[in-house]
C-alpha cells in the first residue's frame, strides 16, 4: 500500500504540467459543451417547418434548380453527415446567409452584438455599484428596516415582468416627464454621425470627440440600462447579503472585534475581503443573465442588439439568423461561466 503511494508520489509530474493538464481538461469540456450546443441548434433547425432550399431560392424556383441546390447543400446526405458539415461551417465562422438582410449572419451578429454588450455592461455596472453595498448593509443591519427594504426591493425585482416595467418606464420617463430619450440608441438626428470603431456608441462618440452624440446616447441608454441594472441588483444584493452573513457569523470576526478593530475595518477589510471571489462568480453569472435577459428589453426599447435580431429573424422565419444568434449567445454564456469557474479556482486556495 505504502509502496504504491510512494511510487505515485515519485511519478508526479512537475506543477506546470499538471496545470497544463487542467487547462486541457477545461478546454475539452468547453469543446464538448459547444458541440452539444451546436447539436441542439442543429436538431432545432431540422425540426423547424421551413424548407432550407426554398429559404435560399425563394418560392418560384424550378424543379431542376431545386434539386441541384438540394444536393449542393448536402441535404441528401444522412443527418449525421449534415451535422458535421454544419459543425465545420460554424467552426469557420460561417452561419450561412440571412434571409432577411441578405448578408452573412456572422456579419450581422458582429454588427448587433456590441449594442447588446454595451447595454448589458452598463446594466451590470449599475447592479454592482448599488447591489453590493445594499447587500452588505442588509447583512450588517440584519433584521432592521434596511434589511426588510432590501429584501422587498429584491423580491419585487424577481417578480416584475421586465418588458412591462420597460413599457411603464417609457410611459412615465419619456412619455409624461420627457426626462430620457425614447426608443433606439440615439435620436434620429444623431444616427450614423460617429464612425464605427468598437460598435459601442458611447465609446465611439468619445473616441471621435462628439460629445453631443455621447450625451444623446446616454439619454437613450439610461432607462434600459437601469432596468437591467435593477434586475442584476436584485440578484447581486441577495447573494452579497447571504455571503456576508456567513462571514460575519464566523469566529475570526469576533476575534477582530475583540481586538478592538473598527467596525468599518471588520466589515470591509475582513468580511468583505473574504467574499470577493464568490462575488465575482455571482457578477459573472448575472452578466451572462443580462446578455440573455436583454432580449425583451431590446424589443421594448427598439434596441438594435442581438435579442431584437433573433426575435425579428424568428418572426420572419429566417432560420440561419435564429440559429446563428442562438449559438453566439450560448457561446458567450458558456465562456462567462467557465471564466467565473476559472477565477474561482484561481483565487480560492481551497479549490486548487
Amino acid at each position: 500500500m505504502s509502496a504504491t503511494t510512494e511510487a505515485k508520489k515519485g511519478r508526479q509530474p512537475p506543477p506546470f504540467l499538471s496545470y497544463l493538464a487542467k487547462i486541457a481538461k477545461t478546454l475539452g469540456s468547453i469543446a464538448v459543451t459547444m458541440i452539444g450546443l451546436l447539436f441542439v441548434t442543429f436538431v432545432i433547425g431540422r425540426i423547424m417547418p421551413i424548407d432550407p432550399v426554398i429559404a435560399v431560392l425563394g418560392e418560384r424556383a424550378t424543379k431542376e434548380t431545386y434539386d441541384a441546390t438540394y444536393i449542393a447543400m448536402g441535404l441528401d446526405k444522412p443527418y449525421i453527415v449534415q451535422f458535421f458539415y454544419y459543425l465545420w461551417d460554424v467552426i469557420q465562422g460561417d452561419f450561412g446567409p440571412s434571409r432577411l438582410t441578405a448578408r452573412p449572419v456572422e456579419d450581422d451578429i458582429a454588427r448587433v452584438f456590441p449594442a447588446t454588450l454595451e447595454l448589458a455592461t452598463l446594466g451590470t455596472l449599475i447592479g454592482v455599484f448599488i447591489g453590493v453595498p445594499l447587500g452588505v448593509l442588509a447583512a450588517v443591519k440584519r433584521g432592521t428596516l434596511i434589511d426588510q427594504i432590501a429584501r422587498v426591493v429584491a423580491l419585487i425585482g424577481y417578480s416584475m415582468p421586465i418588458f412591462w416595467l420597460g413599457l411603464v418606464g417609457l410611459l412615465i420617463f419619456y412619455g409624461i416627464l420627457g426626462w430620457v430619450g425614447g426608443p433606439g440608441r440615439v435620436g434620429i438626428f444623431y444616427v450614423d454621425l460617429v464612425p464605427t470603431v468598437t460598435g459601442m456608441i458611447l465609446i465611439d462618440s468619445i473616441l471621435d470627440g462628439q460629445w453631443d452624440v455621447f450625451w444623446n446616447a446616454v439619454s437613450h441608454i439610461i432607462l434600459p440600462a437601469s432596468l437591467l441594472g435593477y434586475y442584476s441588483l436584485a440578484y447581486i444584493s441577495r447573494m452579497t447579503r447571504s455571503f456576508m452573513l456567513e462571514q460575519l457569523s464566523a469566529e475570526y470576526i469576533t476575534t477582530a472585534r475583540v481586538k478592538g478593530m473598527s467596525e468599518w475595518a471588520v466589515i470591509w477589510r475582513h468580511a468583505f475581503g473574504n467574499i470577493k471571489v464568490q462575488l465575482i462568480t455571482v457578477i459573472a453569472l448575472s452578466y451572462a443573465g443580462l446578455l440573455e435577459g436583454s432580449v425583451l428589453t431590446e424589443i421594448i426599447f427598439s434596441w438594435p442588439g442581438i435579442g431584437s435580431y433573433i426575435t425579428t429573424a424568428l418572426l420572419s422565419a429566417d432560420m440561419n439568423a435564429v440559429l446563428g444568434g442562438t449559438v453566439v449567445v450560448g457561446l458567450v454564456f458558456v465562456c462567462l461561466n467557465i471564466f467565473s469557474d476559472l477565477l474561482y479556482k484561481f483565487f480560492d486556495p481551497r479549490a486548487q
Partner: protein
C-alpha cells in the same frame, strides 16, 4: 377546560392528536410532521400573504365564468378604449371594446394551466435524470450530466424562443419549450441529493433485503429529494410565469384572441401613451402572482430546507 389528556371533541382534539410526541402509526407521524411544518409556515406573514394571493387566484380561475362581468371575447367597437371605471367596465376596455377585467379573470386560467404543466413536467424530468445519474454513476452519470450542462449553458429565453420557432407558436408548445429549458437545475439538485443518500446505511440495508435499483430509486431516494425540489419549484414559478408572459408578449405563446396576460400587454403596447391602463393592468396581474409565488417559496424554504434559509 376539563381534565388534561382527554381529547376534547372538535378542533382541540385534532390539534392535540397532531402535536403528540408519540405517534401511534406511520400515518400519524406523517400528519404530525406536516402539521409542524404548517405551523412554522403560518408564522411567516409574508409567506401567508403569498399563499392567500395564490388561493385567491385559484378560486378566481375556478369560478371565472361566474365572476367575470362580461364575455372576455365579446367585442364592442362603440365602447373601445374606455378608461378605468367607465360605465360598468371596472378596469376599462381594450382596443376592441373587450372588458379588461373579464379578460384578466379568464387569463388567470391560462396562467395557472401553463404554470402547473411546467411545474409537473420539468421537476419530474429532472428528478428522473438526476437520480439515475447519481445512483448509477460511471458513464451514464458523465453523459447525463454533460447533457444537463449543455442545456444549462443555453440562455433560457433564447432556447425557448428557438424551440417555439421550431414547433410553432401556441400555449402547449410554449409549455414544452419552457419545460425543456427548466429541467436542468432540478436534475442537478436531485443528483446531489442522490449522491449524499446513496452511500447511507439504510440503502445498504434495503439492498441486502433484495431490493433492485428501480425500487431503491423510486421508493427510497425519490421521497427524500421531494422537499428540496418543492422549494425550488415554488421559487421557479415566478420565473416560469415571467417566461410564459414573455413568450406571449413576443407573440409566440398563446395566440389572440386568447386573454393571456403577456399577449394582452403586447396588444396594449400600441396604445400605451394615451391609454396606459390596457397594458398596465395585465402587467400588475403578472407581477402580483409571481410576487406571491416568490413570497411563498421564500417561506417554504425556511420550513423545508432550513440549511440555507434566508438566502433569498
Amino acid at each position: 377546560m376539563t381534565a388534561v389528556g382527554i381529547p376534547e371533541p372538535g378542533k382541540p382534539g385534532w390539534r392535540q392528536w397532531l402535536l403528540t410526541d408519540t405517534p401511534t402509526s406511520r400515518r400519524h407521524a406523517r400528519a404530525a410532521s406536516l402539521y409542524q411544518s404548517w405551523l412554522t409556515l403560518k408564522s411567516n406573514k409574508l409567506a401567508m400573504i403569498g399563499l392567500g394571493i395564490l388561493v385567491f387566484l385559484a378560486l378566481v380561475a375556478l369560478f371565472a365564468p361566474i365572476l367575470s362581468p362580461y364575455d372576455p371575447f365579446a367585442q364592442d367597437l362603440g365602447n373601445r378604449l374606455q378608461p378605468l371605471g367607465a360605465d360598468g367596465h371596472l378596469l376599462g376596455t381594450d382596443s376592441l371594446g373587450r372588458d379588461i377585467l373579464s379578460r384578466l379573470i379568464h387569463g388567470s386560467r391560462i396562467t395557472l394551466y401553463i404554470v402547473s404543466l411546467v411545474a409537473l413536467i420539468a421537476p419530474i424530468a429532472g428528478l428522473i435524470v438526476g437520480t439515475v445519474a447519481g445512483y448509477v454513476g460511471g458513464w451514464s452519470d458523465t453523459v447525463l450530466m454533460r447533457i444537463t450542462d449543455i442545456f444549462l449553458a443555453f440562455p433560457r429565453l433564447v432556447l425557448a424562443l428557438a424551440f417555439v420557432a421550431a414547433l410553432g407558436a401556441g400555449i402547449e408548445n410554449a409549455v414544452l419549450a419552457i419545460a425543456l429549458t427548466a429541467w436542468p437545475p432540478y436534475a442537478r439538485i436531485a443528483r446531489a441529493e442522490t449522491l449524499s443518500i446513496r452511500k447511507s446505511d439504510y440503502i445498504s440495508a434495503v439492498k441486502l433485503q433484495g431490493a433492485g435499483p428501480l425500487r431503491i430509486i423510486t421508493k427510497h431516494i425519490w421521497p427524500l429529494c421531494i422537499s428540496s425540489l418543492i422549494v425550488r419549484v415554488t421559487l421557479d414559478m415566478a420565473g416560469i410565469i415571467l417566461a410564459a408572459a414573455g413568450l406571449g408578449f413576443l407573440g409566440l405563446g398563446a395566440q389572440p384572441p386568447s386573454p393571456e396576460w403577456g399577449a394582452m400587454i403586447s396588444e396594449g403596447r400600441k396604445f400605451i401613451l394615451d391609454h396606459w391602463w390596457i397594458a398596465t393592468m395585465p402587467g400588475l396581474a403578472i407581477f402580483t402572482v409571481s410576487l406571491a409565488f416568490n413570497l411563498l417559496g421564500d417561506g417554504l424554504r425556511d420550513v423545508l430546507d432550513p440549511k440555507d434559509g434566508g438566502e433569498l
